[in-house]
Amino acid sequence: MTLWLMAGLLFTPLAWAVLTLLLDFSKGRVVTWLGILVQVLVSLGLWATVASEGGFHYLLGGWQAPLGIELRVDGLAVTFVLLTALVAAACGWHGGLYLDPGKSWHRYFWPLFWFLWAGLNAVWLGGDLFNLYVGLELISLSAVGLVALGGQAEALRAAIRYLLAALLGSLAYLLGVALVYGQTGSLSLAGVATLVSDGAVSSGPVFPLVLMLLGLALKTALFPMHGWLPPAHGIAKSPVSALLSALVVKASFYIAARLWLELGNELGSYVLAQVIGLLGALAVVWGSWQALLQPKLKQVVAYSSVAQIGYLFLLFPLTWGVAGAVSLQAQQGITLQVISHALAKSAMFLAAGNLILSAGSNKVDALAGVSRFLPFSLFSFGLAGLSLMGLPPTGGFAAKWLLLQASLGSGQWWWIVVLLVGGLLSAGYVFRIYRASFVEDSGTDHFYHPPRSLEVIPMILALLALGLGLVSDSVLSVMALPFDEGGAG
């Protein structure tokens, strides 16, 4: 049963992609909405199965990698599958209403959307290094296509830049995979980890690990390799920006984190962990600072992503050479940060899209007086902002709390400074938007009112980010579900 659900999550999105490729925008929309419903149900089904029976390992068709596809599902993977279903459903719904059906090239939104979803599920569920690469490439190519959907020259420029960065990152990763295969003769992540920890490999593949992490960090836009992100996320259509910031960057980070947790303690070093953490810290400060300065609303949100991604890389120092309980706190904190940022950032981009739609301009200053006319979208934006600032009771706060505890527990107090200062800086750029919207002496008092459902979607996502903090203990307990090594093959 689980096998069918997993296969369904991987291959049916591809089928939807091909199907929508043949249809125009409106028909594609109907088909997609139907498909979203199915995908959400299947994701829920997998989640329920894993929650009751625990995780599994599969060799699809009985072939070993690299020929076959190795799948694994545990509590963490299934949580991300569900998160993807949720955010993608919201963006697909929003996109169907937001995008102008009159523009002929918008019909490509649907197939690209489905390819992206297939790639994401492949990454969450992949168990071998090569197929993770395939998933990653599928994601990158469809993401680049989605950015180019903006149509203007500026969007194309951003897309090309994104494409180059993504390809470079993939190449570095692939090279690392090839070297690992050469040294260990295995592509299965779990297999390599066993070989390394048993000492079966003479010289551990340290260089390949660094190479893979470097490539993945480039694709995750870790400072100082973040240059491609703000233009791409800023210029893309709002539902696309939401997908990219919420999910796409998380996929490469997910692989990096899994590599680190499986191999880091054997192959990593204190210096490597600290350097990665330091880059994350710089990303937090630099990204937030840039967000404070941006004149355009969506650029503010995009730079905020650079900052929020920085927090994720604190995983590396906080899990290296520390007590098991501290490492667990750090892992839980980072996972919550991934989820809450995904929900909050998608809410924020969608709400920003609505605000831009109604103010008729993408400038922050153009928002003067919006608080009187469009309180609903502004409210969603604000609620999402709470999670980014890490204020209670949001998921972002729960994440920050756990990371604070992990920093205290590991004695690495310097990350506390990053966590607190980062929170204040993000408050700075979020309040800059509020402040603009509260200005009363604006010349305009005519604002376009977007349809109600466009306003409801970001609100739902923002409320989920808010509620995540309250139930984070139960969410984490599902994620902690173990994963059964001897599962049916």
Partner: protein
């Protein structure tokens, strides 16, 4: 979970739900909005009264669940939380009545009352929080829900004040969070407990506990406006009068003071805090704040600004009372939480009435206003005399209790501070009273308007008159067990006499 456990949740939800409904209502449905506002306020007051009754009977109302691994979300009604919850429920009702009148026909009322209710929900949460983590949750929620109220008018001045408020309070919040997280890492999740935790403490913890204490007090001191963390408060008086009233009497500054009370009493323990030498430093800061605030108030010509500096001074009475570290002094500090609340809210209501009815904002424009608005001016006079500490008003009870508490523990210098502060209070309030009642009107009033049959709209007149009556009652009946002082003595018995 028994039905009793639901009471704290219900008390919190009344204003939270009211807020959600009000946000959803269209701007034009003002009558329905007023009904919901007042209905929720009355319901909340009733719930709090029931809980107070239960707490007297020795019942405990508590709800708890694990929120983040290792940390619980706890809502609990105990004697101390009821002191603050009772104050905020009562004053919310009166302020809502006042605000309905004050904002009649002004724009953005839906937004205003939505955040207003949210602000009160946060205050309720602060009162009912059962551990520092839960306290922090609502403490930050209060910061955020007051911001839109502060910048409600959207003028450049209001936006600037709002920005400063946010910078001060969020930075304070970050420091507080660090303190709470550190304490949690050190000793685990501590529920508030009468008598505190550190009475028998390993000497090795002395150093970290001292630093944590400083962090906690610094974080809370921003809202409690301890000098030098008070900078946001005088600017914040640009807010509409009901907001200032709420801010100064119940919500923001009191949240800080209440947090300090919780930390000293129920985390560290009064005895332990004194033995660790933590209170001496705090006493000096509080005493300095009292004198500084009063002195600065002398030089303000804007009425609300003078009242704001007076708040800075008065809230520190609460802190200073705790630092006396004896049952009597602590009772004096605690009871001032309530007394300062009703006195200051009266004064701000009156200031709002002068501004709205006569257009008067400056003290030198108040000449002869007593004849034009006798009800408001009488209430103002009572509030002012209360602040000065004239018997038999509520403020006198505070100062008397604190003075005897100081003498009891041999901190005689505190009496000198109290006397000096009273003199300063008299120096900045009596000239106002003189102008109100004895000076003849020199210039025409800036913007006089007729509003109803009485001296001003009855929505605006009755709240200050009622709170002024309370100032007398709380003073006269301080000896009975249902006065604030009686309640506070019950708390102190449980906290200190262990």
């Amino acid at each position: 979970m028994s039905t009793g456990a639901l009471l704290p949740v219900a008390a919190l939800m009344t204003s939270l739900l009211a807020s959600v409904i009000i946000f959803a209502l269209p701007e034009t449905r003002s009558r329905l909005r007023t009904v919901i506002n007042l209905g929720a306020a009355l319901l909340k007051l009733a719930l709090v009264v029931v809980m107070i009754w239960g707490v007297v009977q020795g019942q405990a109302y508590e709800v708890a669940f694990t929120m983040v691994p290792g940390v619980e979300f706890v809502l609990r009604a105990d004697a101390l939380s009821m002191l603050f919850a009772g104050l905020s429920a009562l004053l919310w009702l009166l302020t809502t009545i006042y605000a309905v009148g004050y904002l009649e026909d002004s724009p953005n009322r839906s937004r205003f009352f939505g955040f207003f209710s949210l602000c009160v929900a946060s205050t309720m949460g602060i009162a009912l929080a059962g551990n520092l983590f839960t306290f922090f949750l609502f403490y930050e929620m209060l910061t955020l829900s007051t911001y839109p109220l502060l910048v409600h008018r959207g003028t450049p001045k209001a936006l600037r004040a709002g920005r400063n408020y946010i910078i001060y309070t969020l930075a304070g919040g970050a420091v507080l969070l660090l303190g709470i997280a550190w304490l949690h890492g050190l000793v685990g999740d501590l529920r508030f407990q009468e008598g505190g935790y550190f009475a028998e403490m390993a000497p090795a913890l002395q150093a970290p506990l001292t630093i944590i204490f400083v962090l906690l007090i610094a974080g809370l001191g921003v809202k409690a406006a301890l000098v030098p963390l008070h900078g946001w408060l005088p600017q914040a008086m640009v807010a509409p009068a009901p907001v200032s009233a709420l801010l100064h009497a119940v919500a923001v500054v009191k949240a800080g003071a209440f947090g300090i009370i919780r930390v000293v009493f129920e985390v560290y323990g009064l005895e332990a805090a004194r033995e660790m030498g933590l209170l001496a430093g705090l006493a000096v800061v509080a005493a300095f704040t009292i004198l500084y605030g009063s002195t600065r108030a002398l030089f303000q010509m804007d009425l609300k600004r003078r009242l704001a500096f007076s708040t800075i001074s008065q809230v520190s009475y609460i802190v200073l009372g705790l630092c006396l570290a004896g049952p009597v002094g602590a009772a004096g500090g605690l009871v001032h939480l309530v007394h300062q609340g009703i006195m200051k809210i009266t004064l701000f209501f009156c200031a709002g009435n002068y501004a709205e009815t006569l257009g008067v904002h400056r003290i030198d424009e108040l000449d002869g206003a007593g004849k034009r608005m006798p009800g408001t001016s009488a209430a103002f006079t009572l509030g002012a005399f209360g602040m000065i500490g004239a018997p038999p008003l509520a403020g006198f009870i505070t100062k008397w209790t604190m003075g005897s508490g100081a003498l009891a523990v041999g901190m005689d210098w505190v009496v000198a501070v109290l006397v000096a502060s009273s003199l300063l209070n008299a120096a900045y309030f009596l000239p106002i009273l003189h102008r109100l009642w004895f000076a003849g009107q020199q210039a025409p009033l800036p913007e006089e308007r007729r509003w109803g049959r009485l001296e001003t709209s009855s929505w605006l007149l009755w709240p200050p008159v009622l709170t002024a009556v309370l100032i007398i009652l709380f003073g006269l009946f301080a000896g009975t067990s249902y006065s604030p002082l009686g309640w506070v003595e019950l708390i102190v018995d449980r906290e200190v006499a262990l």
